[in-house]
Symmetry: C2
Subunit: 508 residues, 2 copies
């Protein structure tokens, strides 16, 4: 058995059964072993950022790590932006990176670089296999580290000669650590605080499932959802606490009356960017921050321990929604209404709408129950890859990618993999031909001198991107919507069909 085969067998034996890959020469033995080892789904992506983002999406849906297979330092480099997002999402990912054969490193070949240095930018868990026999051992330890809790991007660098050499063939299986219950002291302290005026629970991490939200509701406390969480349950018939808004002007009022903020698998809210004369922390002066459950603990069980067992939570009744069907110019409000009306039950939504989100998201609170996967690390180009990974993780759930045009351009190669893997994804591109968020940020940062040249650096029209052609170029059927009627009909049809479909929503 080669080192590469032992790596593959170790992944499969430990429940890592999906690998998003963009391999090169140093990874060929791993690729060849795919035909000798059953149980691994290899998913080819045409750009590394699709691999890393897809592994993030897969982890958000399953809670389990997928593997990625990338080629040397620069190949890993292309995956870093979405690994950054996965890191902030606490998604478990087993990132395997090929390296030159050890004897070849000294000659400084063209592709030689410090792979460890690339890996450390997004991971505190970086291993390099030290022999062919060590590959499986190091892989098992990497899997355990990835799994956490909390999950993390764990890196395993495998020199090509250890992949191609024969090894002893051991296939170690490691236990997965489970989330521990917070201490009784933490539970008692939280219970006492919940009886006080001005206490709120802030939920993050894995404590955003329907079960966790229901328990949070039954505590009777004020509940808030943290901002850049990996996934949260939303929609009609569910307890839907408010989420911390993106801008300080929204976040600070929401938190202004909170005197005690109890964190559940999350951190104290901060603003996304700093602005002149705006604080970084969004909590009010004098607010005391407490931790009920850390990122490694079981926030859901903690919430259940605090909940009133017999408390009943009342939800707004589910109402029939009507999609707009007029022929006026398409608006964000019309899109929000149409998506809410036709959203399939139990859909997974990858949200990278950026500037369009604040209008569209409120409509989803009345939609069928679903899970929302927001931006986590803020590196754009996350949405389409996350949708790829989510669709592979949950083949029986409809995946909806709500995606800004600017962001979509970073990882549009995702579309190809949607076709290759027959993924059930409906992509909506919010095409405003602008880095619209930067219009807002330009004013907010006080950079007021917004002249013609600066304007050009934010304008992504001229030439207009044609998302129907870009999509069809990648093999995904596509259409353009310019009115509420067109959008509603196209979205309705897309979610009723199976398979990938893209709608370019022109919102000018």
């Amino acid at each position: 058995m080669t080192g590469a085969e032992s790596l593959l067998r170790t992944l499969v034996a430990n429940g890592v059964d999906t690998c998003f890959m963009n391999p090169g020469t140093s990874e060929m033995h791993f690729v060849a072993a795919l035909d000798r080892v059953a149980g691994m789904r290899g998913v080819l992506c045409l750009f590394e950022g699709v691999c890393s983002g897809a592994a993030d999406g897969y982890a958000r849906v399953t809670g389990r790590p997928a593997a990625t297979l990338l080629h040397l330092g620069p190949g890993l480099g292309n995956g870093l932006a979405n690994f950054h997002n996965a890191r902030k999402a606490r998604s478990p990912v087993v990132s395997i990176v090929g390296e030159h054969a050890t004897a070849h490193l000294k000659v400084d070949a063209p592709l030689t670089s410090d792979v460890q240095a690339f890996a450390r930018t997004v991971s505190q868990c970086v291993r390099t296999a030290v022999s062919a026999d060590n590959v499986a051992t190091a892989a098992a330890a990497t899997i355990a580290d990835a799994w956490g809790p909390p999950g993390q991007v764990a890196m395993l660098i495998v020199p090509a000669d250890y992949s191609w050499a024969e090894c002893a063939g051991a296939v170690p299986v490691v236990p997965h650590a489970v989330r521990s219950m917070p201490s009784n002291a933490a539970l008692s302290a939280a219970a006492a605080l919940l009886r006080e005026e001005g206490t709120a629970l802030l939920l993050g991490g894995t404590a955003l499932t329907p079960r966790a939200l229901d328990a949070a509701a039954r505590t009777g406390a004020r509940v808030i959802i943290a901002r850049n969480v990996a996934k949260f349950a939303s929609g009609s018939g569910r307890f839907q606490p408010p989420q911390v808004p993106y801008f300080p002007e929204g976040a600070m009022p929401l938190l202004a009356s909170v005197k005690n903020l109890i964190l559940v698998e999350c951190e104290q809210p901060v603003s996304f960017f700093a602005y002149p004369n705006t604080p970084s922390y969004m909590t009010a002066e004098g607010c005391v921050v407490h931790a009920l459950a850390t990122r490694a603990e079981d926030g859901t069980a903690a919430l259940e321990a605090l909940a009133q067992p017999r408390a009943s939570v009342s939800h707004a009744p589910r109402v029939a929604l009507t999609a707009p069907n007029d022929d006026s110019a398409l608006t964000l409000n019309a899109i929000g209404a149409a998506v809410a009306a036709y959203l399939p039950e139990n859909a997974l939504i990858a949200d990278e709408m950026v500037s369009s989100g604040s209008v569209v998201l409120p409509y989803l609170t009345k939609a069928a129950p679903h899970d929302l996967m927001p931006v986590t690390g803020g590196s754009i180009g996350q949405g389409l890859p996350v949708a790829v990974g989510a669709a592979i993780a949950a083949p029986n759930r409809k995946v909806i990618a709500l995606e800004a045009d600017g962001s979509a351009m970073y990882t549009l190669q995702s579309l190809w993999t949607m076709v290759r893997e027959k993924l059930d994804v409906t992509v909506v591109i919010f095409n405003n031909r602008r880095y619209r968020i930067l219009d807002i940020e330009m004013q907010r940062t006080g950079a007021n001198g917004f002249g013609g040249i600066a304007n050009d650096m934010i304008d992504i029209g001229r030439p207009d991107l044609d998302w129907v052609k870009l999509s069809e170029g990648c093999g995904v059927a596509a259409s353009r919507a310019t009115t509420p009627r067109e959008f509603s009909e196209q979205f309705r049809d897309a979610v009723r069909e199976r398979g990938p479909r893209l709608i370019e929503a022109l919102i000018l």
Copy 2:
């Protein structure tokens, strides 16, 4: 004056007049300053890898650094692969990276990362501005470091608060170090070696201009061009020594009889990848390697010092070439012949043909004089961005991008910038619907078990990428060629027109 404006003024005052950018919130003050400071051409790119690759191309053509402006660690992450290529090309690049405001770093906001760690993966010259007043000083030092010699990717990290704060407004101008002449001892040693049997000159770096090649020819020595060089003069009427081939099977015989190899701005030849039972160094056992000029020295002047002043170099006479015009299936040979026949005088060719290059490149030796810009660091996705930068650097020269389909997908966003900036680039996509190079590498690495699943990880058809649609989606006029006649006519028309144009050459 803000720190951002002082940065911009320092760039312009030091001759850095082009900035390839993909800015975010922390860079808004730099963007706003573009309207207040004359002399900077801001070039928006829709993905950071286009910025870094374009700066590389610009430097290869002008010898001068362009700036790049990227957004925080993950934005820089997306630029690393092409910065790696620029590093290996010794291209001078002034890479400016925005960072959060200093007071905001402690709160670990979503986009917070170790920007220095990202920067160090591709640069040994990483600075972070320490105050608003320091921004200009640090920028001037970064420019000097970028310029070299040899050129390098020099990094300047600018916290947002130092960009937006007022500063003293000094605009330092730094002298550029020039390449020094090698020592007399090195020149004498080389002169003595050139009189011996079995000596060869290996040319790299800046010693590949027509002037340097002519001087090398007039030494009377055997001359070889190093493999992964940034740019070399080629074509009819020029001295065209052989280049070290990609695979060891070609490189080792070429170098087998060389007993003394004299390096001129390059390193000892090594194989791109390691293979079982193949050496890493391509020189023969016992070959002694000498340096005439280091990467920082003036190889051209050194060659001229060794050349016979009155020696005349005879070249093969320029012959009229005929483009193929039959209706058979398109082949690499037909493409090579057509490109050679219609190549405009003084064209700049960005070569990322990968597996197609070995057939096409020999045709170019009979084409009109031109410059070839090969792959340097081997991280794919280099060709289209390099073409962008080259076209901006040399608006009066035709730029031809000869690009593999797989590689083109990594940075296809380049096409949009070609339209936005009205660049005179003809792109040829070699569409074989395959990572063909990996077919070869799969066998070479001894990973013989090439089953159906492994095959799927190399097959980039299913779905077929439609490069005409992808190109038109980015605004670039495009056509598909399936026969020699179609390709010849389309290529002829494309090079006769001005502006961007893409030809998808189907070679199945």
